[in-house]
């Protein structure tokens, strides 16, 4: 095995290493500035620090699901495998961020509102959005002819984005407990160490998202290549008349 062969035995590359380094650095800075440098909030105390991961996780979730929308739409027009995989990988990554968003919001809500969960429009619609995308990931794995499955997944990938719009505007449409959008010219001013911590948090989440997206994309590409390779092997075995032995079959599958 040569050195170049070895490089391909992984989903990482030069570009992901750069993005990964940025993510690690931004993650460290988020921890330093968010947990140590930034002072506790006048009203919310220490728990306000959770917003430095909560708000960026919202951005990463929205961005991921938006990429899924774009990938699905382009797939329906061009039928390109590339965009189908981008859409799927982005929904996987987005759902991880959505779990982080729900959890960080929940532990922030306990000291602030006195409860982990309230049936507020934004929380409820976020939970619905999360489940919708789990449904999207499930339909991507449904047992069906691949081209038909990809087309139907793309339709669901577009429909699911309605949830993101509902989540985003829920604070305006219905009155609830959740505070309005954080980055909005309102009476709440974010400045100084808080702004800096938000900045590092956002860089951390967005770079992590890009890193994960590229890796998940390559993984799904490799998975389909591996399946195709297995199929080829089985066909070869069948042609050589060797498929009868269970041992050879087991070796391949």
């Amino acid at each position: 095995m040569t050195a170049t062969d070895k490089n391909f035995l992984t989903t990482s590359s030069k570009s992901t290493k750069v993005i990964g380094s940025v993510a690690l650095a931004a993650g460290a800075l988020t921890l330093i500035f968010g947990l140590i440098v930034a002072p506790p909030h006048i009203e919310q105390g220490q728990s306000a620090r959770l917003l430095f991961v909560h708000v960026p996780s919202v951005i990463a979730t929205y961005l991921s699901y938006f990429i899924t929308l774009v990938g699905s739409a382009i797939y329906l027009r061009k039928k390109s495998l590339f965009w189908d995989r981008v859409a799927g990988a982005s929904a996987e990554v987005g759902s991880v961020f959505c779990a982080v968003l729900l959890f960080s919001g929940s532990v922030w809500g306990r000291p602030t509102w006195g409860t982990f969960w309230v049936w507020d429009p934004r929380l409820t619609s976020t939970a619905v959005m999360f489940v919708s995308y789990l449904g999207y990931l499930a339909i991507r794995r449904m047992d069906m002819e691949p081209a038909a499955r990809r087309r139907r997944s793309a339709i669901v990938g577009i429909l699911a984005f309605v949830n993101v719009i509902i989540v985003h505007f829920s604070v305006d449409w219905w009155r609830g407990l959740h505070q309005s959008r954080t980055f909005e010219p309102s009476d709440v001013q974010i400045e100084g160490w808080y702004l800096l911590s938000f900045f590092f948090g956002t860089v951390f989440f967005v770079s992590t998202q890009a890193w994960l997206l590229i890796h998940r994309f390559r993984l799904s590409h490799l998975e389909s290549q591996a399946n195709a390779a297995k199929l080829d092997q089985l066909i070869d075995l069948r042609q050589s008349g060797d498929l009868g032995s269970a041992q050879t079959r087991e070796k391949v599958v």
């Binding site: 062969d5 391909f8 035995l9 992984t10 989903t11 990482s12 590359s13 570009s15 993650g27 921890l31 968010g34 947990l35 506790p40 919310q44 105390g45 220490q46 728990s47 620090r49 959770l50 991961v53 909560h54 996780s57 590339f82 991880v96 779990a99 982080v100 959890f103 960080s104 532990v107 922030w108 306990r110 000291p111 992590t208 890193w211 994960l212 890796h215 998940r216 994309f217 390559r218 993984l219 590409h221 490799l222 998975e223 290549q225 591996a226 195709a228 390779a229 297995k230």
Partner: protein
């Protein structure tokens, strides 16, 4: 006023742990699966 560290710890801990574990599992699976793919088809679309 100065309490709430337990929630901060839980939130940050969960966040970083979940992202790290997800990233680690992705890379590990990628390494495992690329062995099953013939070298000629191992390149990505980048």
């Amino acid at each position: 006023m100065f309490e709430g560290w337990e929630f901060v710890t839980a939130g940050y801990g969960f966040t970083f742990l979940v992202l790290a574990v997800f990233g680690y599992l992705t890379v590990r699976k990628g390494k495992r699966i690329s062995r099953e793919v013939p070298p000629s088809k191992r390149r990505f679309l980048d």
